[in-house]
Amino acid sequence: MNDVSLIVKVVAYILIVPVFIFGSYVILHGHLSPGGGFAGGAILATLVAMLVITFRDDFKENPHEIFSILECIGMIFFILLAFFGLSSSFFHNFLVNLNGLFGKPVHFGVNPGYLNTAGVIPLMNMAVGIEVFSALSLIVLMLSMRYGGERK
C-alpha cells in the first residue's frame, strides 16, 4: 500500500486545529461575512478528506456510521428551528430583536458586524454546517474507503 511518510502524518496532525478553527469561524460568522453553513461545512470536510488520505490504513472499519447519524441530526435541527417559528408562520425568525440569544437589534446600514444579532439565522447556519460537513465527509469516505479498505 502507498504508505504515507512520517512528515505528512506530523503535518496532518498540526493542520487539524487551524482548519477546524477556520471552518467553524466561517460557519459562525455566516450572518455577518460571506460563507455560512455550506461554505464552512465544506472547509471542515476538507479536514476529513485529509485525514482519510493520510491515515487510510489506521482506520479499522469505515467510520461512515457516525457521519450519517450526524447528518440526520444536523438536518433535523434545521427543520425543528423552522418548526419553532410556527408561532407566527413556518420558518419565521422568532429570535430577532428580542435581546435574547442572537437577538440584539441592529439599525439598517453599515455596521461593524455584531455577532449577537440576526435571530435564528446563526443557529440555522450551525445546523447546515453540521449537515454539510458530515454529508461531504460521508461522500469522501464512501468513495475512498470502499476501494482503499477492501480493494476488490
Binding site: 450519517s68 447519524i69 440526520c72 441530526i73 438536518m75 433535523i76 427543520i79 425543528l80 423552522a82 418548526f83 417559528g85 410556527l86 407566527s88 408562520s89 413556518f90 420558518f91 419565521h92 425568525n93
Partner: protein, 521 residues
C-alpha cells in the same frame, strides 16, 4: 385550548403538508435501532398524517377559495407587505390540491406495499428516507406559488427518485437507468432555472402570480416559455423526449415505479400551471397549445406501438404510462387551444380539460395497480421476462383478478374508470378535430392488444414446473392492491360525482387566472 390547537393546525396547513414528510425523511435513518419494522411503520404513519392534512386542505380550498401562505412572514396571510410579494408564497388552489391528493395517496399505498416488498433488503432506512423526500418534493411542487421554489422542489424530486431508481445496486442496468434519469432531470432543471433567470432579469419577480400580472410579451418571454414547456414536457415523458421513461420505470423497484408515475404527473401539472396561469394571456399560447396536442398525439401512438413488442413486463407498462400521458396532454391541449374564444371553450374546451384532468387521477390509480401487480409477480417468480412466466393464474388467483381489473380500466372498457375519462376526451376532442379522436380510439385498441398478451403470457397457459411452489402474495402487499381496485371500481361506477366533486373545481381553478393572480397582487 382544544379549538386553539385545531385552528392552529388548519391555519398552517400548506406549510405543514410539505414540512412533515421533510422532517420524517431525516428522522427515518435514525430509527434503525428501534427494530426492523420501525422505519416502515414510521413512514406509513407520517404519509397517512400528510394524506389527512391534504384532504382537510382540499376541503378548505373547495369551501372558501384559494389558500395562500407566506413562509416566514409574521402573519401567514401577509403576502406582499408593500405591494411586492417578497417571501416564498405557497398558493393552493383546486388543481394543486387535486394533484397533491392524487400523488400522496399513491405514495402512501406504495409505502404500505414496500413495507413487505423491501423487507429482505439491508439498507431499508435509506429507501424510506428517499421515498419521504420524494413525497416532500412532489407536495412542494404541487403547492408552491414561487417559480424558484418549484425549481428547488423539482431538483429534490429528481435527486431522490434517481437514488431510488438505483436501489438495485447489484444490477448494472438499474445504475445505468438512474444515471440517464439524472442527466435528463438535471438538464431540464437547468433549463427551467435559465428560464427563471430570464423572467427574473426582466421583471425582478419570482412569484408566479406576480409574474403573470406584470407581463409584457417580449421575445425573451417567448424563449423562457419555450424552455419551460420543453423542460416540463421532457420531465413528464412525452414522446420525442420519452426515452428515459422506459429505463427508469423498468429498472426501479415496483413501488418506486408507481410513485415515479405520480412524480412525472406533477411535472405535467407544472406544465399546465405555466401554460394557463403564467403565460395565459400571451397570444402565442395557441402555438404552444398545438405543440402540446402534437406531443400528446405522438406520445399516444409511439408509446403503444413501442409497448407491443416488449418482453419485459415493467418496460411494457412504462411505455403504456407514456401513451396514457399522451391522453392527458391531448385533453388539456385542446382546452388550451380554444381558451380564447368563449363559445368553443364552453362547447367542448372545458369538457376536454375535464377529461384530461380526470384521466390524471384515473391513470395514477390503475397504473399504480398494474405496477404493484407486476411487482407482486416479480416478488414471487423472480423473473421480469414475459416469456419465462406462465400459468400463474391458478397459483395467484387474487393477483390475477386484480391485474384483470387494472387491465380492463387502462384499456377503457365500460364499467371501469378509464372508460369515463376516455369517453369525455373522445367526445370533446372529436368536436375539435375528428382525426385526434380517431387516433385516440385506435391507441386504446392497441393498449388492449398488448395487455391481453401480458395477461395470457403471465397468468394463463401451461403450468410451469419451476413455479409449482408459488403462493399468493402476503397480506400487507395485498392491501394497497385491494384499495386501488376498490377505488377504480368506485370511480368507474360513480364518475358523475367524482367529476363534480374533484375535477370540475380543478378545471375552474386552472381557467380562473385572475383569481389566482388576485390573491397575491
Amino acid at each position: 385550548m382544544e379549538v386553539g390547537r385545531e385552528m392552529f393546525i388548519i391555519e398552517h396547513l400548506p406549510a405543514l403538508v410539505i414540512a412533515i414528510p421533510l422532517l420524517a425523511a431525516f428522522i427515518a435513518p435514525l430509527l434503525k435501532r428501534f427494530g426492523k419494522h420501525a422505519v416502515s411503520v414510521w413512514s406509513i404513519l407520517n404519509l397517512s398524517i400528510v394524506e389527512c392534512l391534504v384532504i382537510v386542505l382540499g376541503y378548505r380550498v373547495i369551501k372558501d377559495g384559494i389558500q395562500s401562505y407566506a413562509i416566514g412572514a409574521s402573519i401567514p396571510s401577509l403576502l406582499s407587505p408593500n405591494g411586492l410579494p417578497v417571501r416564498i408564497i405557497l398558493e393552493v388552489d383546486a388543481i394543486s390540491s387535486f394533484m397533491g391528493l392524487t400523488s400522496i395517496s399513491i405514495i402512501l399505498l406504495a409505502c404500505i406495499y414496500s413495507a413487505c416488498f423491501m423487507k429482505k433488503y439491508k439498507s431499508v432506512e435509506r429507501y424510506y428516507s428517499l421515498l419521504l423526500l420524494m413525497a416532500a418534493g412532489i407536495m412542494g411542487m404541487a403547492f408552491t406559488g414561487d417559480m424558484f421554489n418549484m425549481f428547488v422542489f423539482l431538483e429534490v424530486l429528481s435527486i431522490s427518485s434517481a437514488g431510488l431508481i438505483a436501489f438495485y445496486a447489484y444490477k448494472g442496468e438499474a445504475i445505468e437507468a438512474a444515471f440517464k434519469y439524472l442527466v435528463i432531470s438535471s438538464i431540464s432543471a437547468l433549463m427551467v432555472l435559465f428560464a427563471i433567470a430570464l423572467l427574473y432579469g426582466q421583471y425582478g419577480l419570482l412569484n408566479i402570480a406576480a409574474l403573470g400580472a406584470a407581463f409584457r410579451f417580449t421575445i425573451l418571454d417567448k424563449i423562457a416559455l419555450a424552455l419551460l414547456v420543453s423542460a416540463f414536457v421532457m420531465k413528464c415523458g412525452a414522446v420525442p423526449l420519452h426515452m428515459w421513461v422506459a429505463d427508469a420505470y423498468g429498472e426501479a423497484p415496483a413501488p418506486i415505479s408507481a410513485s415515479l408515475v405520480v412524480a412525472s404527473q406533477i411535472s405535467l401539472y407544472a406544465l399546465f400551471r405555466i401554460c394557463f396561469t403564467l403565460f395565459g394571456l400571451l397570444p402565442a399560447i395557441q402555438i404552444i397549445a398545438w405543440f402540446i396536442i402534437l406531443f400528446g398525439l405522438a406520445s399516444m401512438f409511439v408509446g403503444v406501438t413501442m409497448a407491443m413488442p416488449q418482453k419485459d413486463i415493467k418496460r411494457l407498462m412504462a411505455y403504456h404510462a407514456i401513451s396514457q400521458t399522451g391522453y392527458m396532454l391531448l385533453g388539456v391541449g385542446v382546452g388550451l387551444a380554444v381558451i380564447n374564444d368563449i363559445n368553443a371553450l364552453n362547447a367542448f374546451g372545458i369538457a376536454a380539460m375535464e377529461g384530461g384532468i380526470f384521466h390524471i387521477i384515473n391513470h395514477a390509480m390503475y397504473k399504480g395497480l398494474l405496477f404493484l401487480v407486476a411487482g407482486a409477480i416479480i416478488y414471487r417468480t423472480g423473473t421480469k421476462n414475459l416469456n419465462e412466466m406462465g400459468g400463474l393464474g391458478n397459483r395467484m388467483p387474487i393477483t390475477a383478478v386484480l391485474f384483470l381489473i387494472g387491465m380492463l380500466s387502462i384499456t377503457g372498457l365500460p364499467p371501469f374508470n378509464g372508460f369515463a375519462s376516455k369517453l369525455i376526451i373522445y367526445e370533446s376532442v372529436f368536436l375539435f378535430n375528428p382525426i385526434l379522436s380517431v387516433v385516440a380510439m385506435i391507441v386504446s385498441i392497441l393498449t388492449l392488444a398488448s395487455f391481453v398478451k401480458v395477461f395470457y403470457s403471465a397468468f394463463t397457459g401451461q403450468e410451469q414446473s419451476k413455479y409449482k411452489d408459488v403462493k399468493e402474495i402476503p397480506a400487507i402487499m395485498l392491501v394497497p392492491l385491494l384499495i386501488l381496485a376498490f377505488l377504480i371500481i368506485l370511480f368507474g361506477l360513480f364518475p358523475g360525482i367524482i367529476l363534480k366533486l374533484l375535477v370540475k373545481p380543478a378545471v375552474q381553478a386552472l381557467l380562473d387566472r385572475a383569481g389566482y393572480i388576485g390573491v397575491v397582487v
